[in-house]
Each structure stands twice: as structure tokens, then as C-alpha cells.
């Protein structure tokens, strides 16, 4: 929670001024009982009408100044709180942008969404209220006590007992409920996850007629949430009655002591009324404060959850840091042993040099000892079974995953050593899952290159066999794309995502099984078009032998290892696994 306070940094002025003005307001309120006591003790016995009116005007004056101070305080508090939440949301969102896929999988999308929305909203509310009330309440409480002391020390001692007692109760309830609120939020997350799931999987749920079961599961989670909520509420509902009992108990004591003191002649009627009024002020303030505590406990729980997102570090980064020393050493060794590789002889453009990859936390290596080299402009086919590591392999080229041993070099330079954007600018990737974003076709294509002209867009669409999709739309390039591109079919999305990558005009193009939803004719036309760009190095990952059989080089993967490299003809002669794949597809 503490680390979130830095988001108030830009609102230091407001964060100081808001409570300050509240303090002003509170101090004016503290004068009110004194004025009343003067009316009772001086004006009434003296039958002094003008004085009563004068005192009435003093009361109005105090109220007016109080209101101006309060509105000023509200303004600064609102500004600081809204500014805080805006900056925090921005920071959390940017931080999520830096997370790798593994981290996002681990946290879960729905949690990220609650944290970015309702949690931060609660926090905003919390900050606002804290700035407005958190200082005000102690000032009123202690101010009232000090004022009581100025009237009568003995009666004021009741305040000295009451205030710590109140503090214990309020703080105790806060400590008790804090972990419970955390649990409530966790349960809320589950309900949210369920809701999302029911929306994204609605077809499958209906096909399997699981509506009733899903509803039952949802109702169960919902019930658990309600139970957790009522459980917390039972405790937090204690704070008001308890403070009420303590303060009113104190009033009984005060009146008794007051009676004794009046009887000896040490106090007047008006003074007793003033002291009673101070105690009442404390009660009024405490009721507000108790509400505030509930809000703060909730806000702190939310804050911790938001903070947890900000503190999530990528596993790879963490590993990198730990291994920094070892790596430096081993790299030095490598360069000493194989100096010739660094100069990239023979126009070798991309080199995998005994590269292995192991995901953080995974037991086995996903890729083991991968070695091959590629010349500029070549087309490389990568084929292999599910889980054989094809996607991991191509993802190492733009540096999404870093080799845990060995190296991947592009133009003689280690992939790790590139600035991430430098390498990304060279590489166009079309991932397996075709995703388009809400906007227009044009806005989606421009992801590849913001400055592309319409002509360039059409050229890319043409190569990706997507021209007819766009032409078929009423607004052409400006046709609307709905969220996740769901107004397009799978095949249409694939072609548009390919076009998106082509707009980038990449030096290296990676098609990660991205033609799976295309029919053979479209697939073939696509490959033909891509082959016509001569200086682009193309990687085609596919399940179809037909898609890769004309590649300059085919890499056959099996269980994370290379089992064959060569052309179609070579592999048919030498590679058992390739032959099997090829034959099953061509013969049936």
C-alpha cells in the first residue's frame, strides 16, 4: 500500500491544503460550545437581548468561514484523489504492458481488470475521504479535549480515559476486518471470472447444455461471496454501537462529575453544557470516523491488490538479474572459443547456435540444442507435432524468449544485445491466434506501420489474399472492426493479420501456423505472393506439408529437438518423421 503513495507526488500541494482547510473548518466548530456557554452563563442571567443577538451573529460568521474552508478542502481533496487514481491507473496499465505472457497467464485477465477498475475506484474514494476526514476527526477529538481542559481539568480527565478507549475499539475493528475484506475481494474476483467465462464460452456452454450447471456454479460462488461479505459486515457493524456506548457512558460520567463540581461551586451550568457539548462533538465525529475506517480498510485491501500487480516482475527479468554474473562469464567464454561466428561468415543472416530454452518454473527444456543457419531472403519451413516447440523457436528470433544457453544471432549480433524495438522493427510476426482490435480495418493495418499509404495497405492486402474481404465491406478500409474482430470469420481474421504484418514490410516474416483456417487455394496463393518478395526472410510454421514443401530449407522438430534440416527431397530421403507427415497428407 505504501508504495502507492508516490502517485500523490504530483498532488503534494493539494494533499496538504485539503486537510489544512479541513483543520480550519474544524477549529471554527470548536468555538461554538464556548459561544453557547456565554449565552447561558452571561446573556441569559443578565437578560441581555442585544448580546444574545450578537452571539447569534458570531455563530453564523463561524459557520460561513467554516463552509468556505470546507468547500476549498473538498476541491483540493477531489483534485488529489482523482489525479491519484488517474496516474495510478495509467501506471498499472503501462506496467501490464511490460509483463510477459507467462506473468499475465499467472495473474489472470479478469483479476487484472477488477484491479484496474473497481479496486482503483475504491482507492480513489478512499484517498478522497482520507484527505477530507482523516485529519479532521483527530483534530476535533483532541481539540474538544483541550477545550474541555480550559474549562475544567477534573471533568476533562473523563476525555483522557474515553479517547484511548475509542482508539482501541476503532483500531481493533480495523485490524479484525482488514484480512476479511481481502477475502471478499478474492471472492469477487471469482464471480467476475465466472461472468467472463460464461460470455466467452457461451457457444460451448449452450452446445453442451451446461447453462444450468454454470448457473449453479455461479450461484455457488456468488453465495460464497455474500457469506464473506456478511461475515465482515457483522464485525464492521460493531464500530458504531461500541463508540456510541463509550461516548454516552462518558457523558454519564461527565454529568455526574459536573453535578459534584457545580455543587461545590467550581463550575457553572453553562460550563457543564459546554463540556457536554464537546463530548457530543466527539461522538458525531466518531460516527463519521467509523464510516471512514470501513472505507479505509476496504481501500487498503484494494490498494494492496493493485500494488501486487505493480510489483509483479517478469520471471525472465528476475532470472536475468540472478544470472547476470554467470551469463557475463559464459558469454566471455563463448566469444573466446568461437570468435569466427561473431563475424557472420558466408552471409549467414540468422544463426541458432546450440540454443536451448527453458521456461521459468518448467521442469524440462522446451527447446534443446537447436542449431541451424539461414541466409537472407530464404524461406524456411518449420514442421513438427503439437508441443514440439515450433512456436517457441520462432519466438526466439524477435527476442520474445531468450536462449537459456547457446545463442541466437541476427546479422552477427546476439538477439539479447538488440534494443527490443530495434529487433522488433525488423521482424513481422503473424501469431497463431488471429486477433483484430476494435476500430477499422485501416486502424488495424496501421499497427504494422503508422505511416503506410493506402497504396501500401492495398499491396499488403493483396499479398495476404485479403483484398476481396475489404472490397466486400461497404466502407472498404474504413469498415468497422468490432472488439476482438468478431465480425470477421477466422479465415478473414487470419488474412487480415497477415496483411497487418506485411504492412510493416519486415526483413523477417514469421507466419506461425497462421494460415490454418485458409483453404488450400488461398493458402497457396498467399505463399506465392510472399515468395515474390525477394529480400524478405520468411519462416513458415505449419502443420501442412504442402505449405512448406517448397521452402528453401525445412526444419523438422520433434519434442523440442531438430530431427531434420533440408529441402523436401532431402528430407524425404533422410528423415523418417518428415516422410511420415508428408505421406499421410499427400496420399489420403
Amino acid at each position: 500500500m505504501k508504495s502507492l503513495l508516490k502517485f500523490l507526488k504530483n498532488y503534494k500541494k493539494e494533499s496538504v491544503l485539503a486537510p489544512l482547510f479541513k483543520l480550519l473548518e474544524a477549529s471554527f466548530e470548536l468555538f461554538v460550545p464556548l459561544v453557547i456557554s456565554r449565552i447561558i452563563d452571561v446573556a441569559i442571567p443578565g437578560k441581555d437581548h442585544p448580546m444574545i443577538i450578537k452571539m447569534g451573529l458570531v455563530l453564523v460568521g463561524l459557520a460561513l468561514i467554516g463552509m468556505v474552508a470546507a468547500i476549498t478542502a473538498q476541491f483540493f481533496a477531489a483534485k488529489a484523489a482523482v489525479g491519484f487514481s488517474t496516474e495510478l491507473r495509467e501506471a498499472v496499465f503501462s506496467h501490464i504492458q511490460t509483463l510477459d505472457f507467462t506473468s499475465i497467464d499467472k495473474i489472470g485477465t479478469s483479476t487484472l481488470i477488477t484491479r484496474m477498475t473497481s479496486d482503483i475506484n475504491q482507492l480513489q474514494n478512499g484517498v478522497n475521504m482520507v484527505l477530507r476526514l482523516f485529519l479532521r476527526s483527530p483534530i476535533v477529538v483532541f481539540g474538544a479535549m483541550i477545550m474541555a481542559f480550559t474549562i475544567d481539568v477534573k471533568a476533562a480527565l473523563v476525555f483522557v480515559v474515553t479517547i484511548p478507549l475509542l482508539a482501541v475499539v476503532v483500531y481493533g475493528i480495523m485490524l479484525l476486518t482488514m484480512p476479511l475484506y481481502k477475502r471478499v475481494q478474492g471472492n469477487l474476483d471469482k464471480v467476475l471470472g465466472h461472468t467472463r467465462e460464461n460470455l466467452t464460452g457461451v457457444r460451448v456452454i449452450r452446445a453442451f447444455r451446461l447453462e444450468k450447471k454454470e448457473l449453479k456454479d455461479f450461484e455457488f460462488d456468488n453465495r460464497v461471496l455474500t457469506k464473506a461479505q456478511t461475515h465482515v459486515a457483522r464485525f464492521s457493524a460493531l464500530s458504531n454501537p461500541l463508540t456510541y456506548v463509550i461516548v454516552n457512558g462518558a457523558l454519564i460520567a461527565l454529568i455526574y462529575i459536573g453535578g459534584v463540581r457545580v455543587n461545590i461551586g467550581d463550575l457553572t451550568q453553562g460550563q457543564v453544557v459546554a463540556i457536554v457539548n464537546y463530548m457530543s462533538q466527539i461522538l458525531v465525529e466518531l460516527i463519521k470516523f467509523a464510516d471512514l475506517i470501513v472505507l479505509i480498510t476496504k481501500a487498503i485491501a484494494c490498494g494492496d491488490r493493485v500494488e501486487a500487480v505493480l510489483k509483479t516482475r517478469n520471471a525472465a527479468d528476475a532470472r536475468e538479474k540472478d544470472d547476470a554474473d554467470n551469463k557475463a562469464e559464459s558469454q566471455a567464454e563463448n566469444s573466446f572459443e568461437k570468435p569466427c561466428n561473431e563475424s557472420a561468415p558466408g552471409g549467414e543472416y540468422i544463426v541458432f547456435d546450440h540454443a536451448s530454452l527453458k521456461y521459468a518454473g518448467a521442469g524440462d527444456e522446451t527447446l534443446t540444442d537447436i542449431s541451424f543457419s539461414v541466409k537472407k531472403g530464404e524461406t524456411i519451413g518449420i514442421i513438427g507435432g503439437t508441443g514440439s516447440g515450433k512456436t517457441s523457436l520462432v519466438n526466439m528470433i524477435p527476442g520474445f524468449y531468450k536462449a537459456t544457453s547457446g545463442s541466437v544471432r541476427i546479422e552477427g549480433k546476439n538477439a539479447d544485445e538488440y534494443e527490443s524495438t530495434e529487433l522488433l522493427n525488423k521482424v513481422g510476426v503473424v501469431p497463431q491466434k488471429a486477433v483484430l482490435f476494435k476500430g477499422t480495418i485501416r486502424s488495424n493495418l496501421l499497427w504494422g506501420n503508422e505511416n503506410a499509404t493506402d497504396e501500401e495497405l492495398w499491396k499488403a492486402l493483396d499479398m495476404a489474399q485479403a483484398t476481396e474481404i475489404v472490397k466486400g465491406k461497404e466502407n472498404g478500409l474504413d469498415a468497422v472492426v468490432e472488439q476482438n474482430g468478431r465480425n470477421f470469420s477466422g479465415g478473414q481474421k487470419q488474412r487480415l493479420t497477415i496483411a497487418r504484418a506485411l504492412v510493416k514490410n519486415p526483413e523477417i516474416l514469421i507466419l506461425d501456423d497462421s494460415a490454418s483456417a485458409l483453404d488450400y487455394a488461398t493458402d497457396a496463393a498467399l505463399r506465392k505472393a510472399i515468395a515474390s518478395i525477394s529480400d524478405t526472410t520468411v519462416f513458415i510454421v505449419s502443420q501442412r506439408a504442402s505449405s512448406i514443401r517448397n521452402a528453401d530449407k525445412i526444419i523438422v522438430l520433434d519434442d523440442g529437438a531438430v530431427v531434420g534440416v533440408g529441402t523436401n527431397e532431402e528430407l524425404l530421403k533422410t528423415c523418417e518423421i518428415y516422410r511420415e507427415i508428408y505421406n499421410t497428407q499427400v496420399e489420403t
Partner: protein, 595 residues
């Protein structure tokens, strides 16, 4: 315009009350307790006033016997009030949380009752935000409303009675100035409503963006678009900042303004009350219309405070409720979205399906003026395999939407075993199909739960047999906890191919009489696919199957091939006859190995 808005608000409030209806007994108890609390709270100042009056004569003049009696009575009242407070709060919380639970359940129930045409159009994030965030904001508002509104109203009424009984004239001061605070609050509330609404709208927009971008973080990374996405986010965030600032600040004006009115009342009571006390000294036959004691004045001053406090609170509640009503109306908008066509009266439960499916002159469109499928007829006999082929986007998945009755046909009819599917329960219709979609969807839960979807009571042996048949057993076995491995939302760490294998296993387990396979194996390598196809072939034996596939092997083995183009069936027949025909199919086929 304004009255229309209020009308909508009224309707929404009516619906909220409808949800509370089930809790009437509790509500009554809560109301009684609220009344008890009010009486207790109001009685204490009276007692204090009486005690203060004992101090009038100063030194040596205090009647301690009377003082003790008053103090003991105070003690009893305090304890009773506190207990009532706790019980009432607990009851109110109970009601609120349960109402929220009921609304969420209703929303979820309705979700399953909505046509896909609605769900396909509405952004997921927006619906999620309605069911989760809006219901929550609504709950907070309702909670505040419950606890404060009732006690507020009762305090106002109670104070009025107590005050009038003590001094009608001084009461007039309170009664006349106080309503001011109500007007101030109302004025502010009506003027902030729009800010709250726009805040709510921008929030929904932001949630949708978060949903989209964070859900597809990898693509964002591939194109190094983090900055651009951040810019878009920040633009919305900036707008949210502006509208939130306005909503928060203007609504926070209510408190200081009403408090000021409160202070005016206080000053008024002090002055007028002071006059009455002085007047009382001169009068012989004092009564409540002519005089006041100092103790009564202090009691009055406390009331003056308490009398405006509920107004403060009610006005605070009004802004909060305003926000809650906005959220509630968004929820109800969802809950009341037009449900799908209800089941026909006497809808038949089809059982003993052999696999006769016939489509007659089917017309269908997603968008009003864009016809997609036109005059499409097809007769399928039991056990036949129908392969649907054609260029992407030609309407193949649409046929599945129609067969499963995810969407209803616009014209013509689809019938199973001679029964129009509109006269058959959706449940029994869908139960007759086993479906594997291109979009692999898995729920958060264990592998076992995901496999058992179609047959919740399956035994371990059946599950393993199905997994073996679908070739998923070997990878499931290697997962950390085997069949009990918990997978995250949407499959989490599983690869696309593994997810697909699980979806196949799911169907393999329950084996309905008809099958729908939509490019089901496109992400699975050929070696695995060969095995799956063998399993499929076995499974399809005697089962009517509709297969949307690009695999030549699947297509070749089909009894009927539907060649689709632009929503129309352009050719129909088996592989050989279509090839020899030399039409569109032949063109597709011949291009297969061309580069």
C-alpha cells in the same frame, strides 16, 4: 426530457424495490429497530437537559437523588440503543448483500436466456462491468441508503414530535430554516447526475479497452505497440479524470452547504431560545408556549444539530443513490434485454435421433439488409457425412449457428427427424449434437471438469478411455496433477493444439447421435490428426456428421460435399462427381499443391 429521465429513474427504483420484496419481514424488523434507535437517540438529550436543569441553582443546590435516577435511565437507554443499532446494521447488510446476490444470479440466468445475436454484439467487458462493477456500486449506494435513509426520516419525524412537545415556537425556527438544506441538496444532486452518467459511460469504455488490450497483450508486444495502446488508454483516462473530478467535486459540495444551513438553524435556536428563557424568568404561569428552561434549550440545540443531520445524510444518500440508480439502470438494461424466442408451446423433446436432418429453403442474414444464406436446401440421411467446404468467410460457420439453433432462420425451416427444430426444445436439440468448434474454449477448473462437460457423471475409466481415443491422455498424464490439474481461464498454459485435443475428448466422452466439427483439427499436427481422424471415423460410424474442414482426407471420405461460396451452396455431390464436373470444387482441389 427531464421528466422522462425521472420516469426512468422511478421505474428503476420500482425494480429495485421488487428485489427487496422478498426481505419484507427482515425489513419490518429493521424498521422497528430504526424507530427504537431514533427514540433512544432523541431521549438522551432530554435526559441531559433535565440533568442540566438540576444545576441551575449552582453551589449546594444540586438534587443528587434526582440526578442518579436520570443517569441510570440514561445508561439503560444507551445500551438498548447500541444493541438495536448493531442488529439493524447486520440486518441491513444481510438484505443488501442478498439483493445483490439475487440480481447477479438473475443477470447470469438471463445471460443464458439471451440470443447469441445480442451477446455477439455486446462487448464482453461491458457486460462484465455491468454484472460486477455496477452491481457493486449499486450495492454500496443501497447499503448507505438503507442504513441512513430510514433512520434519517424517522429522526426527522421523531425530533419534530419531541420539539413540538417542548416548545412549539422555537420549533418553528427549526422547521422553517431546515428545508433549505433539502433544496440545496436536491439542487446539487440534479446537477451532478449527468456527470455521474458520463463517468459511468467513460468507465465502461475504459473497461472494454482494458479487456481487449490486456487480453491480447502478446499481439500488442509483437507490434511494439505498447506506447500507442498506452496513448489510447491515457486519452480515455484523461477524459475519465475530467468527468470524475467534476462528479466527485460537485457531489462533495452537498455536505458543506447543508452543514451551513444546519449552523443557521443552530444560531437561530440559540437566539430565539435564549429570548424564551429570559422571558420565562418574568412569567408566573409558564407553559410550553411561553417559556423554556436552560436544560430544554441545550436539548433543543442538540436537536437542532440532529434535525439537520438526517437531512445531510439523506442528501448524501441522495447523491449516492443517484449513482446507484444509474448503475442499477445499466444492470436492468441488461437483465431486460430481449430474450431469445421462447420455446414453442408443447415443444417436443426429441429423443432417439437417428440423424435425419433437412434444411428447406433456408434464408438467413446477420444484418438486416445483407442477406447471407439464400434459398438453401439439403437433405441428410442418418449416418451421412456432410463436408462443408469453400473459401473462408463463405458462411460455413453460419450453418452451424443455424443447425444448433444459436440463431434462428429468417425464412424456410430446419428439421430433425421431420420435426421443425423451432418446435423442439433447445435442450434436446443441442443434446443430439456433439460439437467441436474452431474457437477452443475451456473453463477455469480441472482437466477432468472440462472433459466431463457433456457427461458430468462419467467414471474415471470412461474419461481415460475417451482421452486415449482422442490422443490427449498422454499429455494430460504428463501435467503436474494429471486429470486434476487446474487450468486457468481459457486454458491458461495449454498450447492451442492441446486445448483442441481436450475439446475433442469432451465430445468423445458423450458421443451424441450427430456431430458438428468446425475446423476442429486445424491446430493439431498431422501425425496426431491422423490418429484422431481414425477415432473420429469410428465415432462417426452411424452418426450424421457436419464437418467444416479444409483437410482433403476428411472431404474425400464425405458422403455429401457442400461447396459454398458467398453464403450459397454452389455445388453439391461427392468428391469424384464434383471433380469430374470441373467446377468451383475442382478449381479449389487443383490449386492445392500449386505454389
Amino acid at each position: 426530457m427531464k421528466s422522462k429521465k425521472q420516469d426512468i429513474n422511478k421505474k428503476t427504483i420500482g425494480k429495485i424495490l421488487n428485489y427487496i420484496r422478498h426481505y419484507i419481514p427482515l425489513l419490518v424488523i429493521s424498521l422497528i429497530l430504526a424507530a427504537a434507535i431514533v427514540v433512544g437517540t432523541l431521549y438522551i438529550p432530554v435526559l441531559i437537559g433535565r440533568a442540566v436543569d438540576l444545576f441551575l441553582y449552582g453551589k449546594g443546590g444540586v438534587d443528587f437523588d434526582e440526578l442518579y435516577r436520570i443517569l441510570i435511565r440514561m445508561g439503560i437507554v444507551i445500551v438498548l440503543t447500541a444493541v438495536s443499532q448493531w442488529v439493524m446494521n447486520t440486518i441491513n447488510n444481510h438484505i443488501t448483500y442478498h439483493v445483490v446476490e439475487d440480481i447477479r444470479n438473475d443477470a447470469m440466468r438471463h445471460l443464458h436466456d439471451l440470443p447469441l445475436s445480442y451477446l455477439d454484439k455486446q462487448p464482453t467487458g461491458d457486460i462484465v462491468s455491468r454484472i460486477v462493477a455496477d452491481v457493486d456500486t449499486f450495492a454500496d449506494g443501497l447499503l448507505m441508503g438503507f442504513t441512513k435513509f430510514f433512520t434519517g426520516v424517522m429522526t426527522i419525524l421523531g425530533t419534530l414530535v419531541f420539539m413540538l412537545r417542548t416548545s412549539p415556537f422555537v420549533s418553528i425556527v427549526v422547521i422553517f430554516i431546515t428545508p433549505l438544506s433539502f433544496f440545496v441538496a436536491k439542487f446539487i444532486a440534479t446537477h451532478t447526475h449527468d456527470y455521474f452518467q458520463s463517468q459511468s459511460k467513460i468507465r465502461a469504455e475504459q473497461t472494454a479497452l482494458i479487456d481487449e488490450m490486456i487480453g491480447n497483450q502478446k499481439i500488442v508486444k509483437i507490434f511494439a505497440k505498447e506506447e500507442a495502446v498506452k496513448d489510447r488508454f491515457n486519452e480515455i483516462n484523461g477524459r475519465l479524470h475530467d468527468s470524475s473530478l467534476k462528479a466527485v467535486f460537485y457531489s462533495s459540495l452537498v455536505n458543506p452547504s447543508t452543514r451551513f444551513v444546519n449552523s443557521l438553524v443552530y444560531a437561530g435556536v440559540a437566539v430565539v431560545g435564549g429570548f424564551f428563557v429570559i422571558r420565562g424568568f418574568a412569567l408566573e404561569n409558564a407553559n410550553i408556549f411561553t417559556t423554556l428552561t436552560v436544560g430544554e434549550l441545550t436539548c433543543f440545540l442538540t436537536y437542532a444539530n440532529q434535525y439537520t443531520k438526517p437531512f445531510n445524510e439523506i442528501s448524501g444518500v441522495v447523491t449516492e443513490l443517484q449513482n446507484a440508480v444509474v448503475c442499477a439502470s445499466r444492470i436492468f438494461e441488461f437483465i431486460e434485454a430481449k430474450p431469445r424466442t421462447p420455446e414453442a408451446e408443447n415443444a417436443a423433446v426429441i429423443s432417439d435421433v437417428k440423424g435425419n436432418v433437412s434444411l428447406k429453403n433456408v434464408e438467413f442474414r446477420y444484418v438486416e439488409d445483407k442477406p447471407l444464406i439464400r434459398d438453401f436446401s439439403l437433405d441428410v440421411k442418418p449416418g451421412q457425412r456432410v463436408a462443408i467446404v469453400g473459401p473462408t468467410g463463405c458462411g460455413k460457420t453460419t450453418i452451424i449457428n443455424l443447425l444448433m439453433r444459436f440463431y434462428d432462420v429468417d425464412e424456410g425451416s430446419i428439421s430433425v427427424e421431420g420435426l421443425d427444430i423451432r418446435n423442439v426444445t433447445r435442450d434436446s436439440l443441442r443434446g443430439s449434437y456433439g460439437m467441436v468448434l474452431q474457437d477452443t474454449w475451456l473453463k477455469a477448473g480441472t482437466i477432468r471438469e472440462n472433459i466431463c462437460m457433456g457427461k458430468p457423471d462419467a467414471t474415471d475409466e470412461e474419461i481415460i478411455a475417451a482421452a486415449k481415443a482422442a490422443h490427449s491422455h498422454s499429455f494430460i498424464k504428463r501435467l503436474p496433477n494429471g486429470y486434476d490439474t487446474v487450468i486457468g481461464e481459457d486454458g491458461g498454459m495449454l498450447s492451442q493444439g492441446q486445448k483442441q485435443l481436450l475439446c475433442i475428448t469432451r465430445v468423445m466422452l458423450c458421443l451424441p447421435p450427430m456431430l458438428i466439427l468446425d475446423e476442429a483439427t486445424s491446430s493439431i499436427d498431422t501425425r496426431t490428426e491422423i490418429r484422431i481422424q481414425k477415432a473420429f471415423a469410428k465415432m462417426m460410424q452411424g452418426r450424421t456428421s457436419f464437418i467444416v474442414a479444409h483437410r482433403l482426407s476428411t472431404i474425400k471420405e464425405a458422403d455429401v460435399i457442400l461447396v459454398m461460396r458467398d453464403g450459397n451452396i454452389v455445388e453439391q455431390g461427392d468428391h469424384e462427381s464434383l471433380l469430374s464436373k470441373g467446377g468451383f470444387y475442382a478449381e479449389l482441389y487443383n490449386s492445392q499443391f500449386a505454389v
